[in-house]
């Protein structure tokens, strides 16, 4: 089967170590994760992972079943790009003098819908959001104008057809609210804890 981009969307408990648990499922099979984003979901207490990988559907389906086996995972979906609305965000740091002097740069930024976040006398930070290819093109173009720093965020995606699950998790959280995460309260209190 042909490999292609799949976006895996997971709904999980917000427990410590989830990233490790999930990433281990990929690394065990020597699958490269193209990007990974974690964030709260629309339902408080439930976390959302968005993972981008390049694999065949058969492999992705099996991966999702293995992921769903994890105790803290509520649901795993996989989708092709066509089934999603997706975006990646990028930040660019460019010398301000270049922008000020070169009209072509300004045109370029306008063309890609980039907007300034910070303008200082020495540099300016722009941000843009879009598909990977657009961001890559802009990155390449800015490379010629002294691009100082560039960072691209992980893919985030909305599943076009996800109404059913949204209702389900809302109901799920309403019926049984998520437990609090217990964090280590003692790390900064070394001197006051007796040890042997």
């Amino acid at each position: 089967m042909e490999k292609q981009e799949y976006t895996i969307t997971l709904y999980t408990e917000n427990s410590i170590g989830m990233i490790g648990r999930i990433s281990g499922i990929f690394s065990r099979r020597k699958i490269n994760v193209e990007s990974l984003n974690t964030s709260p979901s629309e339902v408080e207490g439930i976390h959302r992972f968005t993972i981008l990988i390049n694999e065949s559907e058969d492999v992705v389906r099996k991966l999702c079943r293995q992921i769903e086996k994890q105790v803290e995972v509520l649901k795993a979906y996989y989708n092709t790009d066509e089934e999603l609305i997706w975006q990646e965000q990028a930040l660019y740091k460019v010398p301000t003098e270049v922008i000020a002097e070169k009209a072509s740069v300004e045109r370029l930024l306008r063309e890609y819908g980039a907007s300034a976040v910070v303008i200082r006398h020495d540099y300016t930070v722009f941000e843009t959001a879009g598909h990977r290819e657009e961001i890559d093109r802009l990155t390449n173009a800015l490379g010629e104008y002294g691009l100082i720093e560039f960072v691209r965020g992980a893919r985030i995606a909305i599943i076009k057809d996800s109404a059913g699950f949204h209702t389900k998790i809302k109901q799920f959280e309403r019926e049984e609210p998520s437990p609090d995460t217990v964090e280590n309260e003692y790390l900064d209190q070394q001197d006051s804890v007796f040890t042997m």
Partner: protein, 580 residues
């Protein structure tokens, strides 16, 4: 700050109000509430508070001090396998916890319900490379069904309840709870123990879909050559009788995986043997002849399927399994029957028609004759003076009648035992199937005995494997498990040697292993023993071993270069199984 102050003073029962417990006491209360009576472990610095509490629970919890944490967890596995209950192991932080890893991996792949409790350094020291600190949670994540680190004692009751629930529901597996030392010491208001009956993000078993049961029944009812494969799922689901009802009504020939052994008595007229690399000839060949393959509680391991692209391609496949991730993982199914086979098998039995497939069954018996002639006859009744492993098992069968718990290690002796041992009763086969852990046998047998002390427990172990965990003789010496240890000594790491002979032009690379005087070693541990190398002594020696009231070690010298056949060579199809 108040909780930290508490960690400085040890709990003192007399002064503490009744509702105040230490984290350690809460751990032991949890075990008692979960019905644990026996546990296996080894103390150390970071788990000392729990062991201190154990001092007062000695009358209610039988703690077996093993000689190595690996022995502890294998014993817990053996206990789980013969008792059907959760096996519990304690270990300290750092090396204690890392020594559990092999057992966790073994329990994970063989679906054993295990709860491990490890001590951990103080929460304030986490991540500082403290003495005996290891990141146990991250080390064990891929080899546990669930794990969790407790840094606050108030969490202990609910976390342990969750641990026991997760370990034994759905597809069972090992759970590890790592408890920092401050949490073990910390006093808290104990509000009692509440068993866990669900975890919101965890679905132990999928919902049974009736339409799949109907589709499966239709397929099975139209089958001319139906063939049932069953695995450990039958034992874990306590569905032995349901399997029997199912195959008897349909008249289906049924074959077992290594892990499924003893789920159906060996002598059952529809039992056609064992599948897999060293399984029986007929079930392997017939896998590629049947028209409907009905797999129940098994996972199509590569040792069972051989080459996948030539595996049962002619057959429609019905797969009954509790773990949705197993369906379509290795073998594409025609009808997936998701669910606990304890529920799905009776539903299916109800819908299938009573059938007589005796002509089809006779085809299995016909092929079996070929295996008897070319392999089994010589193995069980050898003409040479040199003893075979098979004949030892044969005499053992005669003496136990098939009622004993048979524990094996890993290698040739394991395959021979799985092939020839007779089982009358479920939960009688304890072996490391998925992971193939050498050194599993002796400690697992100790645990198996505690799980079923009324039964004879015979550990059949090779001369290689016994040397991996031989220190557990000390556990037997100290606590008196009446384990019979039968060493089949061929003076080689036999299975690797067999492969080197068959596939590496007999280049025997480091398979020649020498052994100590095992009987003398046993004597050193005050365990009776005997060694034989002649056939005339076999029957008496085995009888003496079984009759002895207490543990006993019998070493039997067998042929050095005997091979286990039949064999499905790696990369071959199951129907290309070799008889020699």
């Amino acid at each position: 700050m108040s909780t930290l102050e508490k960690t400085r003073s040890k709990p003192q029962e007399s002064t503490a109000p009744k509702t105040q417990l230490s984290g350690s006491q809460a751990v032991l209360e949890a075990l008692i509430q979960e019905g644990v009576d026996t546990l296996f472990g080894y103390p150390g610095g970071a788990i000392m508070p729990i062991y201190d509490a154990l001092y007062d629970y000695n009358d209610r919890l039988n703690h077996i001090l093993v000689r190595h944490e690996q022995g502890g967890i294998h014993a817990a596995q053996g206990y789980a396998r013969t008792s059907g209950r959760v096996g519990v192991a304690f270990a300290t932080s750092g090396p204690g916890a890392t020594n559990l890893v092999t057992g966790l991996a073994d329990a994970m792949i063989d679906s054993n319900p295990i709860v491990c409790i490890t001590g951990q350094v103080f929460a304030s020291l986490l991540g500082t490379d403290a003495f005996q600190e290891t990141d146990v949670i991250n080390i064990t994540t891929p080899v546990t069904k669930w794990n969790y680190q407790v840094t606050d004692a108030t969490e202990i009751p609910s976390v342990l309840a969750k641990a026991f629930y997760i370990a034994q529901t759905g597809r069972p597996g090992p759970v590890l709870i790592d408890i920092t030392k401050n949490a073990q010491i910390q006093l808290f208001d104990y509000k009692g123990y509440e068993k866990c009956d669900h975890v919101r993000s965890y679905r132990p078993k999928p919902i049974v879909r009736k339409e799949y049961i109907e589709q499966a029944a239709a397929l099975i009812n139209n089958a001319k050559k139906p063939f049932v494969l069953f695995g450990q799922g039958i034992i874990l689901g306590k569905a032995e009788q349901d399997l029997k009802d199912f195959i008897e009504k349909g008249g289906f020939p049924a074959a077992t995986t290594v892990m499924g052994l003893s789920a159906l008595e060996t002598d059952h007229p529809l039992h056609v043997g064992m599948l897999g690399m060293h399984g029986n000839y007929a079930p392997n060949v017939m896998t590629n002849e049947c028209d409907v393959l009905i797999a129940v509680g098994m996972r199509f391991d590569d040792r069972v399927t051989g080459r996948l692209d030539k595996y049962a391609k002619q057959a429609k496949v019905v797969h009954l399994d509790i773990d949705p991730a197993e369906i379509d993982k290795n073998v594409a199914t025609t009808v997936p029957v998701w669910g606990d086979c304890k529920e799905t098998l009776p539903m299916l039995t109800q819908l299938i028609e009573r059938h007589d497939h005796s002509a089809w069954l006779a085809e299995f018996r016909e092929l079996e004759k070929k295996e008897v002639k070319e392999v089994i006859q010589d193995e069980l009744n050898p003409t040479s003076d040199i003893m075979t492993m098979g004949e030892v098992i044969k005499v053992l069968n005669e003496l136990t009648g098939g009622d004993a718990v048979i524990v094996t290690d890993v290698g040739q002796h394991q395959m021979v035992t799985c092939r020839y041992a007779k089982f009358n009763k479920s939960k009688s086969n304890v072996t490391s199937g998925g992971l193939g852990t050498m050194g599993f046998g002796l400690p697992a047998a100790i645990g198996a005995w505690y799980g079923a002390p009324e039964r004879d427990v015979v550990a059949i172990i090779g001369d290689g494997g016994i040397q991996m965990t031989i220190q557990e003789l000390g556990t037997i010496m100290q606590f008196g498990a009446k384990v019979k240890i039968l060493i089949l000594n061929n003076e080689f790491l036999g299975m690797v040697r067999q492969w080197q002979q068959l596939f590496n032009d007999k280049r025997y690379s480091f398979v020649n292993i020498t052994s100590p005087d095992f009987v003398a070693v046993a004597k050193g541990y005050h365990i009776e023993g005997n060694k034989i190398s002649e056939r005339k002594d076999l029957h008496t020696a085995l009888k003496t071993m079984l009759d002895h009231d207490g543990s006993y070690l019998l070493e039997v010298m067998v042929g050095k270069e005997n091979n286990v056949f039949p064999m499905v060579p790696q990369g071959a199809s199951v129907s290309e199984i070799r008889l020699k």
